[in-house]
């Protein structure tokens, strides 16, 4: 699903955020991306989302070489990826339902058909009863779950999550992780950046460890 071939990212000014990173992530696989702050976790996710472009190396997602992706193709590429943000990036000018419906509206789905999928996604994260509320009125954990519902509503082949449990207590964090495990069970590749080592070491999944931009462990799936 994801393949990094000697990918490096150097910011202007010489700072090297990633250097010579290579790894693969298969469909249906869940992996954690971990490391200290500034180790390059966010940069790696941004490269997959094409919010940043690599300085060198090749990057394949879903069989597509991202170096050959034009600006015009970019939105269509992004539709196949569900992203969960640490600060959840919900829009407070609309209801929970409309937040989750956003990716479907963007893809141009008929609102009636979209509604069914939005409800299914909200049901999945246990928030169907709050669909008409404003996300601002929800707790942090609930907001994070709305973000997850939005990430999965378009049935993405790949889910990226950046510190999805960053602001949550251990019980809520475990609950969120269980959700992600369910998704990978149905064939979705999931890559979760997290530095919550105590939590992720308990979950028996592969760990990609970044240290100062270098991948020091987990590159071969062991």
């Amino acid at each position: 699903m994801i393949r990094f071939d000697n990918v490096s990212k150097r910011y202007p000014g010489g700072q090297e955020a990633l250097s010579q990173v290579s790894f693969q992530l298969a469909a249906g696989e869940l992996a954690f991306l971990t490391g200290h702050s500034g180790a390059g976790k966010s940069t790696l996710l941004k490269l997959i989302m094409q919010m940043e472009l690599p300085s060198s190396g090749q990057l394949f997602v879903n069989g597509q070489n991202l170096n050959k992706l034009s600006r015009r193709q970019l939105p269509y590429y992004r539709r196949a990826i569900g992203v969960v943000f640490q600060d959840h990036q919900l829009l407070f000018d609309r209801s929970v339902f409309d937040n989750v419906a956003l990716p479907l509206a963007i893809a141009g789905y008929d609102p009636r058909d979209a509604a069914r999928r939005v409800r299914a996604a909200l049901d999945k994260v246990g928030l169907l009863h709050k669909e008409q509320q404003n996300p601002a009125s929800l707790s942090t954990g609930e907001q994070q779950r709305v973000g997850i519902a939005r990430a999965v509503v378009n049935k993405p082949a790949l889910i990226l999550a950046d510190e999805p449990t960053g602001n949550l207590d251990p019980a809520l964090s475990a609950e969120i992780m269980r959700l992600f495990e369910q998704f990978c069970g149905v064939g979705v590749a999931v890559l979760i950046a997290s530095h919550d080592l105590s939590l992720i070491s308990r979950l028996q999944h592969r760990m990609l460890v970044l240290d100062q931009g270098r991948l020091i462990s987990g590159m071969d799936g062991t």
């Binding site: 992004r78 956003l102 082949a157």
Partner: protein, 341 residues
């Protein structure tokens, strides 16, 4: 993604060309839900949704929308009113075509018998259709009646007006008329020969000049309107920045992101056009009475005409187009700069 201070985009810039059409993406059947993938809307339905959505958004802030529409409307109303007035004047200038007459102001001291003799000799000319003599007394009473200066005139010890011969030529041809004018001006006892034609020519030249001015004014004010809409849209883009970032992250195309703003500009323009029409109708209402009185004093029963239904519709459509264009310019300048970092 964690939002770190945005580093300048380094390395290779995204390729711009060539731009192959986006490949049709096979619908993934994975995911956490088992609801089938739905039908997609056609392009028209998507536009319809965006148009209605942006209209509702504008209506949810009636005061702000009204203010923007007013600014646009006033900018458009000025050239519109001017155009309306000119359209009426032009119609008038065409109508008075038939009234090409020569006014012969005679020497003030000319004896009444000589005046009559002059009139008779002129009537015998082939190129003259009719001659009317207006004696100083007649002229004075006419003037008193029409001008409203009775009191002032009563204070004069003698009638200052000369006798006048009003000469109606057979032909309305400008050259014939000018020849006739040159000839009669040399006649004994004639002080001054003035033709309505010069007045008409002046009026036409004036209307032409005013037309140009109105056009210039319209162009400048339209540019101003464009700027106003562009600025309003820029603020709207700024206030929805976080939404734009999220939309781009979940796969919104540039066109999708721009669409609500373009429709927003469209609605601003259209409402500005309606306001401009209402304002010009108001101007029409205020001006029609004095206009009719002014023209009445020239013996015309012409009234001020407004816009036809189709040209009114054209004004609104043009204003909407202008709004769309203003939004487009603003979107081109500001929307691309907002990228998720």
């Amino acid at each position: 993604m964690a939002r770190t201070p945005p580093p300048p985009r380094g390395g290779a810039s995204r390729r711009q060309a060539p731009r192959p059409p986006p490949p049709p993406r096979p619908e993934p059947r994975r995911g956490g839900t088992s609801v089938p993938v739905g039908r997609k809307l056609g392009r028209f339905a998507q536009h319809q949704l965006a148009a209605v959505d942006s209209l509702l958004r504008l209506l949810s802030d009636p005061l702000g929308t009204l203010l923007a529409a007013l600014v646009m409307g006033i900018a458009l109303a000025l050239p519109l009113c001017l155009a309306l007035l000119l359209q009426n004047l032009q119609g008038l200038a065409q109508n008075v075509d038939a009234a090409g007459t020569l006014s012969l102001y005679l020497d003030a001291g000319l004896a009444p018998a000589r005046q009559e003799a002059l009139a008779t000799s002129l009537r015998e000319r082939d190129d003259v259709k009719d001659v009317t003599l207006i004696t100083p007394a007649q002229a004075l009473s006419d003037f008193e009646r029409n001008s409203g200066f009775q009191n002032v005139l009563a204070g004069l010890d003698k009638n200052p007006l000369p006798p006048v011969l009003v000469l109606t030529p057979r032909s309305l041809d400008v050259d014939v008329l000018q020849n006739l004018q040159r000839h009669v001006a040399t006649l004994n006892g004639v002080d001054l020969a003035e033709s309505d034609l010069t007045w008409l020519q002046r009026l036409r030249a004036l209307v032409n000049l005013a037309n140009r001015l109105a056009l210039l004014l319209a162009v400048m004010l339209c540019l101003g309107g464009l700027r106003v809409i562009g600025n309003t849209i820029r603020l709207a883009i700024e206030s929805r920045r976080s939404e734009i970032v999220v939309v781009k992250l979940v796969g919104g195309t540039d066109a999708y992101v721009a669409r609500p703003f373009l429709y927003c500009g469209f609605w601003y323009g259209a409402s500005g056009g309606v306001v401009a029409l209402l304002l010009s109708v108001l101007c029409l209402f205020v001006l029609s009475d004095p206009y009719a009185r002014l023209l009445g004093s020239y013996g015309s029963d012409s009234v001020l005409h407004g816009f036809s239904l189709s040209s009114g519709f054209g004004v609104v459509a043009g204003a909407a187009l202008l709004g769309w264009l203003g939004a487009k310019l603003s979107v081109l300048r500001h929307l691309r700069a907002i990228e998720p970092r």
